[in-house]
C-alpha cells in the first residue's frame, strides 16, 4: 500500500482528525515536501516551497487534534498555491520579474479559508506570467513540464498547480481561471479542475488579471477531492463585493446524484469536429456513450456565439481589463524599478523590462481596444456580444441539466510548439473561455488517454449558481467513465 498522501483527500483528513489514528498532519506534509524534492527538479511545478510555514501549520493541526479540537475538513492536507494568490509573508512573483521580491502582508481569502480548514501550504506554483497563457511557458522563471511527458506542456496558466497534483506531490492545489486556466491544465495533466460560478469564491488576494472573468478554484485528483477544497473556500467575503450570498457548497445542498434521466446538452458550436484532435473526439464520443448507457438523455442545443466568436470577445475584454489592472505595476510603490531621467521614462523602462512578451501584447491590445476612436468598435461591441452570449447560455441551460464538451481541442502539445504564435495559442482556449464570459461553473475531469498516454479531459458546465449540482453530476460521470487517477511519473525515467 502507498503512503497515506495517496489516499482520497477526505479520507486522509479524517484520519488526521482522529486522535486514535497514528497519521498526523506533519507526516503528510513531510512526505509531500520529500516528494517535491524528489520529483520537482525535472517538472518545475514549484517556484518556491514553504517548509517552515507548512510544518508550523501542520503542528497547529496536530495540536488541535491532541487537545480535542476539530482542525477542519482539510486537516493536514498539503496544499500548493498558484503564485498569483497571496500567502502572507511568502514572496509572490505572479511568474513575472516585475514584482521583484514583493511579499504580501496577508493571505488571500481563499488561502486563509483553506488554512483555517486545516490545509498546510507547502509552496507556490509556477504559472504563465500574470496568468496570461495556456502552457506555463510564459513564466519568467522557466516552464513547467507535463508529469506524463516531460517534453510537453502541462497547460496553463495554472500549469504548476496541475503538475504538482498530477505528479503526486500534493493532493490539492489552488489555481485561478480567467479563460480556462484551471480546466485546461487539469485536462492536460489528467486531473480534475473546477472553475466555480463567478463570485462563488473570493478574489481578495488574487492578483487581478481580468476582474470580471477571474475566479479562484481547486485542482485535485478526483471530483470528490476538488469538492472538498471548493467547499472550504467558497462563500461570501466582505473583502470581495462580487461574492455570492447564497451557499453554493456541494456538501450543504444534498440532492439526487444519479445520471438516470439527466439531460446532457451538446452544443453544436462546441463540437469541433475535425478541428479537434482525433484522440480528443474519441474520448468525447466515449463519454457521451457512457452517459447514455447510464440513462442520461442527450439534447442538442445551440449557443451561437460560443466557439471561435467567443475567442474574439474574450481577447477584447480580458486584455482591456488586464491593461487597467496591470497599470499599478509602474515601479513606484513596489516591485522592480528601472531608474530613468524622468517619471514617464521610468514607467516605460520598468514595464518594458519587467513584463514578458505575452503580457506586453495583452496590455497593448487592451490599451488599443479602450482607446478613443476604437472603444466603440471593439470594447463596446465585445461587451454587447458578451451579454448576448450570456443570454444564449441561459437559454441553452434552461433546456438541459449540464453541457458537455471536450475541455481542449488537442492533447498536450510539445514545449515550444505554439509559443511563437500568439493566435494559435489563444485558440487553445476556444472551449473554455465561454464559461468565464458567462460567469458559469465549469469543470474538467479525466476522460481518457491518447495512444501515447497523454491525458484528455472532458468538460461539464452548468447554469450560474448550480455549483453543488455540477459537482454531484461530475462525480457521477467520473464513476461511469471509470478513468482512475494516473500519477504522472515521467520524472522517474532517466533523462
Amino acid at each position: 500500500m502507498g503512503h497515506p498522501l495517496d489516499l482520497p483527500a477526505a479520507v486522509a483528513a479524517r484520519r488526521v482528525r482522529d486522535a486514535s489514528d497514528p497519521l498526523t498532519a506533519q507526516a503528510l506534509v513531510t512526505e509531500s515536501l520529500r516528494r517535491i524534492e524528489e520529483r520537482d527538479g525535472r517538472i518545475h511545478a514549484f517556484l518556491a516551497t514553504s517548509p517552515d510555514l507548512a510544518l508550523a501549520q501542520a503542528e497547529r493541526v496536530d495540536r488541535a487534534v491532541r487537545e480535542g479540537r476539530d482542525p477542519g475538513p482539510l486537516a493536514g492536507l498539503p496544499l500548493a498555491v498558484k503564485d498569483n494568490l497571496a500567502v502572507g509573508g511568502v514572496a509572490m512573483t505572479c511568474g513575472s520579474r516585475i514584482l521583484g521580491s514583493y511579499r504580501p502582508p496577508t493571505d488571500a481569502t481563499a488561502v486563509a479559508l483553506a488554512v483555517a480548514s486545516g490545509a498546510c501550504v507547502v509552496g507556490k506554483t509556477n504559472l504563465d506570467e500574470f496568468a496570461m497563457g495556456s502552457s506555463t511557458e510564459n513564466s519568467a522563471f522557466g516552464p513547467t513540464r507535463n508529469p506524463h511527458d516531460l517534453t510537453r506542456v502541462p497547460g496553463g496558466s495554472s500549469g504548476g498547480s496541475a503538475a504538482a497534483v498530477a505528479a503526486g506531490m500534493v493532493p490539492l492545489a489552488l489555481g485561478s481561471d480567467t479563460g480556462g486556466s484551471i480546466r485546461q491544465p487539469a485536462a492536460f495533466c489528467g486531473i480534475v479542475g473546477f472553475k466555480p460560478t463567478y463570485g462563488s469564491v473570493s478574489r481578495s488576494g488574487l492578483v487581478a488579471f481580468a476582474s470580471s472573468l477571474d475566479q479562484v478554484g481547486p485542482l485535485a485528483r478526483t471530483v470528490e477531492d476538488a469538492a472538498l477544497l471548493h467547499d472550504a473556500i467558497a462563500g461570501r467575503d466582505a473583502d470581495d463585493m462580487t461574492t455570492w450570498a447564497s451557499c453554493l457548497r456541494a456538501s450543504e445542498k444534498p440532492g439526487p446524484d444519479g445520471l438516470q434521466g439527466l439531460r446532457v446538452g451538446i452544443a453544436r458550436e462546441l463540437d469541433l469536429g475535425t478541428d479537434a484532435d482525433p484522440a480528443v473526439r474519441d474520448v468525447v464520443d466515449r463519454t457521451r456513450a457512457a452517459l447514455r448507457s447510464a440513462g442520461a438523455i442527450e439534447v442538442p442545443v445551440s449557443v451561437p456565439l460560443s466557439g471561435t466568436a467567443a475567442i474574439a470577445i474574450y481577447y477584447v475584454i480580458a486584455p482591456a481589463e488586464a491593461s487597467s489592472n496591470l497599470a499599478r505595476f509602474d515601479g513606484v510603490r513596489f516591485g522592480q524599478r528601472v531608474e530613468a531621467t524622468d517619471l514617464r521614462a521610468m514607467y516605460e523602462a520598468t514595464r518594458g523590462r519587467g513584463f514578458g512578451a505575452e503580457v506586453q501584447r495583452r496590455i497593448l491590445i487592451g490599451t488599443f481596444v479602450l482607446s478613443a476612436g476604437y472603444a466603440d468598435a471593439y470594447y463596446k461591441r465585445a461587451m454587447g456580444a458578451r451579454a448576448t452570449l450570456r443570454a444564449q447560455f441561459a437559454e441553452a441551460l434552461g433546456q438541459v441539466d449540464v453541457l458537455l464538451s471536450a475541455t481542449t481541442p488537442t492533447v498536450p502539445f510539445p514545449l515550444g510548439a505554439r509559443s511563437g504564435n500568439p493566435v494559435e495559442m489563444y485558440l487553445c482556449d476556444v472551449l473554455t473561455v465561454t464559461a468565464n464570459l458567462a460567469g458559469l461553473p465549469a469543470l474538467s475531469l479525466p476522460g481518457g488517454y491518447s495512444r501515447e498516454g497523454l491525458p484528455i479531459g472532458v468538460q461539464l458546465w452548468a447554469a450560474e449558481g448550480q455549483d453543488a449540482r455540477l459537482l454531484r453530476i461530475a462525480a457521477a460521470t467520473e464513476r461511469v467513465l471509470g478513468v482512475p487517477f494516473r500519477q504522472g511519473s515521467a520524472w522517474e525515467v532517466p533523462a
Binding site: 511579499r103 466568436a309 481577447y315 518594458g352 461591441r381 465585445a382 456580444a385 441551460l397 500568439p422
Partner: protein, 106 residues
C-alpha cells in the same frame, strides 16, 4: 504590409508606437517589427466579433437558474455617526496618518 480591419486602422509601426506610448511600455526598436506582426494578427482575430443581437437578455426569473438571495428593498438599521467616525483614518492636523508600508526596511 499593413492590414486594414476597422476603416482607417493600419496596424503598422506608427500605430504600435502610439499604443506603446499610451500603455507606458518601452520596447526596443529591434523588437518592433515582430510586435507589429503579432498585433496585426491579434487585431484581425478580435475584429471578427459580430454585431450584438438586439434580443432580450433578461436572464432572471427563468426556471433552473439560481439567483442571489435579495433582501427586501426596505431601509434597515444603519451605523451611528460615532461608529462611522471610528472607521475614519487618523489625522495629524491637516494630514492623514498613513500606516507604515509592510515590509519597508525588512
Amino acid at each position: 504590409m499593413s492590414s486594414t480591419t476597422e476603416p482607417g486602422l493600419r496596424v503598422d509601426g506608427e500605430f504600435v508606437r502610439a499604443v506603446l506610448g499610451l500603455a507606458k511600455v518601452a520596447v526596443s526598436e529591434a523588437r518592433l517589427p515582430a510586435l507589429v506582426g503579432e498585433l496585426r494578427e491579434i487585431v484581425a482575430l478580435i475584429s471578427s466579433i459580430p454585431e450584438p443581437v438586439e434580443a432580450a437578455v433578461h436572464v432572471d426569473g427563468r426556471p433552473g437558474l439560481a439567483v442571489q438571495d435579495l433582501r427586501p428593498d426596505v431601509p434597515g438599521p444603519t451605523l451611528t455617526r460615532r461608529e462611522i467616525s471610528s472607521n475614519a483614518p487618523a489625522h495629524d492636523g491637516a494630514f492623514l496618518v498613513v500606516p507604515k508600508f509592510h515590509g519597508e526596511g525588512a
